[in-house]
Symmetry: C2
Subunit: 214 residues, 2 copies
């Protein structure tokens, strides 16, 4: 991979800190503190934070700082509703543009998913999440639409906020998410695969089928 500059380093590091639960909702991410932790100056930290705010992962109070958004039930509904529908769109588009190689990629992920040991344990959970992410963002990529992919990635990450903060066992609460598993992923992959062969059938019906998705 090409060499990363400090801003990118900071960006990745901050995300990592968040995912590792170093912060809770409402917590401010102090520029000085982060700079100190990462042993770089405030500038790249500040820029990375600005990026995260612009992308909607952090909220910001003027002259006060960036903070972890406080999730609310209403916001959760919004995120999951948006994600569900956007993923429906990308899946529909993927169904049109996916090539054999793509389908194989998805099936390989499903195999890996089946082999995750101790899905209950923290380690197994993380492994599962990583595969799950690859699956969903993989389909987003297969839509061959930069914009849909971007929105998909965003809502996916944003929805994960809830999983990380609220659903530390990855079992309950988060609407729909707990239903995801190999069997759903197989269904989705098959839907995409089939649609790929029967191109004459309109996108709308495909969207209908792949809407189970999430």
């Amino acid at each position: 991979m090409r060499k990363k500059n400090l801003e990118e380093f900071a960006y990745d590091a901050i995300i990592k800190l968040i995912l590792e639960n170093h912060f809770k909702p409402g917590d401010f991410l102090l520029e000085t503190e982060l700079a100190d932790t990462l042993e770089i100056s405030r500038t790249p930290v500040r820029n990375a934070l600005g990026q995260l705010v612009a992308e909607g992962f952090l909220d910001k109070k003027k002259k006060k700082g960036c903070y972890i958004p406080s999730p609310t039930p209403q916001d959760a509904r919004h995120v999951f509703y948006a994600r569900e529908n956007i993923e429906g769109l990308t899946a529909a588009s993927a169904a049109r543009y996916a090539v054999d190689e793509d389908i194989q990629y998805l099936y390989k992920l499903i195999e890996k998913e089946k082999n995750v040991t101790n899905p209950g344990e923290q380690e197994g959970k993380m492994a599962y999440l990583k595969i799950n992410e690859k699956f969903h963002l993989g389909i987003a990529r297969m839509s061959r639409n930069k914009y849909l992919e971007q929105y998909c990635r965003h809502s996916f990450w944003r929805s994960h906020t809830y999983i990380f903060f609220f659903d530390s066992d990855y079992t309950g609460l988060t609407s729909g998410e707990q239903k995801v598993g190999p069997s759903q992923h197989i269904e989705i992959t098959k839907a995409i695969e089939n649609r790929n062969e029967e191109k004459e059938i309109g996108r709308a019906s495909c969207r209908e089928r792949v809407v189970l998705y999430v």
Copy 2:
């Protein structure tokens, strides 16, 4: 409005410069130059540019700078496809959550739209665009979904890149866009209004009806 800091000032100013055609696709927006023009230091300019890049309005080449994305026919298709579908989603959501006041707001915009003088002239064109923006982003707001609204706003703006750069007369090329006018806006508003009264009818069919949209 609350006081804006220099970063926000720079953000607005840069967008204004872009919309006023000070740059063409591929042009680099030089930090020093902008700072000089706006008579502020590089820092807020740089942050504003970073924001625009993070939001996807500008592209960036590392250690080279931020530049106006070079639009391609393929990218245009992606943008308009994304926008059409996302706007369909927001409109469907708006149809569920819009209140009387919202509907009135839309009708008022349509009236204003009808009264735009010299829609052919540059001035009239700008007036029309402003109203059009209010209409589309207004519906996005009525979806009462922060995320859908965000994606909607993004794809709307991104699609306008094409209108500004390629379709300086606002007549041809840009798929769908030229078809927009009071009559379409009336149709959309009516669809939202009706769906608002007949809540029992599913979202899917509503999405179908409002998909003309764009």
